[in-house]
Amino acid sequence: MKTWKKIHESPALWDRYFVREKVIRTIRSYFEKESFHEIETPILIPHPPAESYLDVFETTLLDRNRKPTKAYLSTSPEVALKKLMVAGLGDCYSLTKAFRNMETQGKLHNPEFTVLEWYRVNADYFDIMKDCEKLLLALAGGTTLIYQKQKINLTPPWERITVADAFKKYANVNFNEFFDMDTARRVAINKGYKVEKNNTWEELYNQIFLNEVERKLGHGKPTILYDFPAAVAALAQLKKDTRYAERFEFYIAGLELGDCYGELTDPVESEHRFDFQMKEIKRLGKTAYDYDNDFIEALKVGLPKCSGIAVGVDRLVMLLADTTSIADTLFFPAGEEFNLHRV
């Protein structure tokens, strides 16, 4: 049954769906109070950010003579916001739609989703942690949140734990040794995981993370997991100990809600990472595209020291509506609209 029909039959359902508008209003009022600019970033773009793990939606832009140009649906407003920070914008955010293909299955994804990204200039990732704490307090309208019968105390400061400490605590892995590929392989095999020749370090790391660490995070109190290995740095600045990057994610009840970086500002290093991502896209057989040279140009002019985060708004809504699937908070979930089988 379509959602509109379900609501027509049970008007009590409206409350669950109205959580979204409250969340959006609260986000806007939080950033207005913090004197941020809200930026409308484009959704139809010529170059998606270089990210090998994402599948993009590709489409075609036609001129009056039907001459085609490749176009894509944005996977994140990050690059647009960073160019404007180069131009001198200062603190800014975007609350927009983003698109990721091949994400039709599962309770925590919709191929079209709402993302909140905000950036603070002359700030580091510890400043963004404080934003997360304050924003969640505003969204919950108090210090307590009940999710799936679990009481979450939102009072700052939240638990802060490094990836290395979390691996030690929950998976009994010595991360200093785990950086070595042969050791990582041995650790994974001893734990009973299947390790094949072509498995990457990132796969071994993430399989242990997903099976043994992730679900333990954010119970009773949100957890900020920080200082990720450089292999999953994406566009984060490396730390002085270059095995690690300035990146954090925050979790509530085992659910990942946001991903933050101390932003990489070096154009040369950025180009290296883009080249690597493009090679990965080819190796993995994903929809290929050219990365955005204009973004490299912007980085050469100079991105100020800044830190920013992407937060999945649909997951926030799901958390506050106390449901276990984001489809239950969308009037028109993709699975229902396209008649896809929901697992």
């Binding site: 990210e51 309770k107 399989q207 099976n211 697992v343």
Partner: protein, 187 residues
């Protein structure tokens, strides 16, 4: 025993996990932030009925366990076991309540069910998405009350208690989702 990939997973795939046969009862594709693809599963042990989670690397090869489906008639309950009979061979099979989980509430003696067999052991039951059962006890729901969302509880012929809309009356047949026990529709 054959080898399959995570891409072949369905809700009725049977795999070897830690040396024991398991049924994949739930699976979803997940991407950790800035990471490659994984498949998160809930696996039910065919020996103990215990369910646990495991996340596979996308594309990982997994050993499949052969499981056949045979039509059998449900006879009776004996202690903690439910006894089924293959009407062609007259062989009898026991399935424990742990293996049947929620489904035990909707079994009707003499009805025929799809039984999953691994080797010479019955390991589960493939229930339809909906089971139709007669309501045997119902209080009179406020007649003509059409306020949506209002519910009451009724008892169906297997003894299970089901939450239904007010308009359902004794003697009617209703459809229930045996996995969740939720009322689906008036049958």
């Amino acid at each position: 025993m054959g080898t399959i990939s995570t891409a072949d997973f369905t809700k009725s795939t049977f795999v070897e996990f830690k040396g024991e046969p398991h049924q994949i009862v739930e699976f979803q594709h997940v991407n950790p932030g800035k990471g490659s693809a994984f498949v998160r599963t809930r696996l039910k042990s065919l020996k103990t009925g215990k369910v646990q989670e495991f996340t596979y690397k996308s594309g990982e090869s997994v050993t499949e366990v052969p499981v056949a489906t045979r039509e059998m008639q449900y006879l009776y309950k004996e202690g903690d076991n439910y006894v089924f009979m293959d009407n062609t061979s007259y062989e009898q099979f026991n399935i424990s309540s742990a293996m049947l989980g929620n489904y035990v509430n909707y079994l009707k003696p003499n009805d025929v069910y799809q039984i999953l067999v691994n080797g010479d052991e019955a390991v589960g039951l493939r229930f339809p998405k909906k089971v139709r059962l007669k309501v045997t006890e119902a209080t009179d729901g406020a007649r003509g009350n059409t306020v949506s969302g209002a519910t009451k509880t009724v008892v169906v012929e297997t003894g299970a208690v089901v939450t239904v809309p007010l308009f359902i009356r004794e003697g009617e047949t209703i459809a229930i989702d045996p996995e969740t026990g939720a009322y689906v529709e008036r049958a």
